[in-house]
């Protein structure tokens, strides 16, 4: 639990932002516990009053209240109103038998994971007492030293490919290629190859548009970690490797 005090230059008072609650669900759960309410049958008037009182208290203490806390207040009030009004008037979600249903389910789910994270913390604390060997002595044998490329080098290499692929005539192409389809093609290629030269991928491309689509598909696969791009050293050919997870026995 901690509170940060953030001085604002142009205001004479101090604003405090508070990290005690992870979010509105965390605050609700705290209030349910504090007021000793039954989580499966939360008295909506009581919890709404307690929640709004708490926000008011935070406001009085000049604690900045995040938007999600206000949103939750609105949700609570809406549920409360639905209880007060005759059912025929609130016709928008008539099929839900209990207006609190969704909120209670959310709160139970949140409580479950809050507890699970406390359990994880215990496991982490136990494991943190056991020390493995620090990574200092010997480099494990790697296949060969490779430099990872940055995006700019990659785009540079790609633009040289585009320069070679001059489209001879102009034509209007109606969404002939899409990234999805090229991802599929690349996946097929890499199901039989472990690695490919960067240039090889673009041999198949007939037009610049197709080459661009291949490039985007490749970036997509790199971003989800399916492919890796390497260069042995500067100005050498760029290689694309399939990422394999062969660590399991």
């Amino acid at each position: 639990m901690q509170a940060k005090i953030l001085p604002k230059a142009n205001v004479s008072d101090y604003r405090i932002s508070i990290d005690v609650f992870e979010g509105p669900l965390d605050l609700l759960l705290y209030l349910v516990k504090k007021e000793e309410l039954n989580i499966y049958d939360i008295p909506i008037t009581k919890i709404t009053t307690a929640y709004i009182d708490y926000l008011q208290l935070m406001k009085n203490m000049n604690i900045e209240i995040a938007g999600e806390f206000i949103l939750m207040a609105a949700t609570l009030i809406r549920i409360k109103v639905r209880f007060l009004l005759p059912s025929s008037i609130s016709d928008d979600d008539r099929d839900e038998e209990d207006p609190r249903g969704k909120l209670i389910r959310q709160l139970l789910e949140y409580r479950r994971f809050k507890q699970a994270s406390a359990e994880l913390e215990v496991i982490a604390q136990r494991r943190a007492k056991e020390f493995g060997r620090p990574d200092i002595t010997y480099e494990e044998k790697k296949v060969e030293p490779l430099f990872e490329l940055n995006l700019f080098e990659l785009i540079e290499a790609f633009s040289s490919i585009l320069a070679k692929k001059k489209d001879t005539f102009l034509e209007i192409i109606a969404d002939e290629f899409n990234v999805q389809q090229k991802i599929k093609e690349l996946n097929e290629i890499f199901s039989t190859h472990d690695m490919l030269n960067f240039l090889d991928i673009f041999y198949k491309a007939q037009t610049r548009l197709e080459a661009v689509t291949y490039f985007l598909a490749m970036l997509e696969l790199v971003s989800i970690g399916a492919l890796h791009i390497y260069q042995d050293r500067n100005f050498e050919s760029i290689m694309i490797y399939k990422v394999t997870h062969d660590n399991d026995r």
Partner: protein, 182 residues
């Protein structure tokens, strides 16, 4: 003939990263020696651990998802901490733990679904967890916007000393515990 048990011990002792049974097998099986089965290697590791307990040595072998590793026993942590001056900064924050728990139990999962469960924005926490390599993107969900799916990484299992998700406390048991408490 060299004692395979001792070879495995030497490998585990010298390695900073966990070693899988497969990797150990690849290393210890020379061209001239007969093949060693996975079961044999696992049995030898169990024997090593039994030796360590019997002799009361300061370390033991644990199993995580990536394989086996030698670690010091918990009762020596206070001295090792002095040796490395472990800082508090390496500990995970409450929001990190919460997000990690959701990803561990529900992954692969999108950020939006994590936000819904936490009732708060998780973008910053996810960035931190990615940087610490405790989670990894595993693909994209095929809905509008194709959001990234996250799951825990192999490093997560090494960090928590777990073999698989099956070793996490069961959510059902957590729920029962909570209901008994209230």
């Amino acid at each position: 003939m060299t004692d395979k048990k001792r070879v495995i011990e030497a490998l585990l002792f010298s390695s900073a990263a966990p070693l899988s049974v497969r990797r150990i097998r690849e290393i210890i099986d020379d061209k001239d020696s007969e093949g060693t089965t996975n079961e044999r290697i696992m049995a030898l590791i169990t024997q090593l651990n039994e030796d360590y307990t019997a002799y009361g040595v300061a370390f033991k072998i644990i199993e995580v998802k990536d394989g086996y590793m030698i670690v010091t026993r918990a009762q020596y942590s206070r001295w090792i901490k002095k040796l490395y001056t472990i800082t508090k900064a390496t500990k995970l924050s409450q929001s990190s733990l919460q997000t990690l728990a959701i990803i561990a139990y529900k992954g692969p999962i999108t950020r939006v679904d994590i936000d819904t469960i936490r009732g708060a924005n998780s973008a910053g926490v996810i960035a931190t967890l990615l940087k610490r390599e405790l989670i990894k993107p595993t693909g994209r969900l095929n809905v509008a916007g194709r959001p990234i799916l996250y799951d825990v990484s192999n490093n997560f299992f090494t960090y928590f000393g777990l073999k698989s998700k099956n070793e996490l406390p069961k959510l059902r048991e957590i729920e029962e515990m909570l209901n008994e408490a209230s």
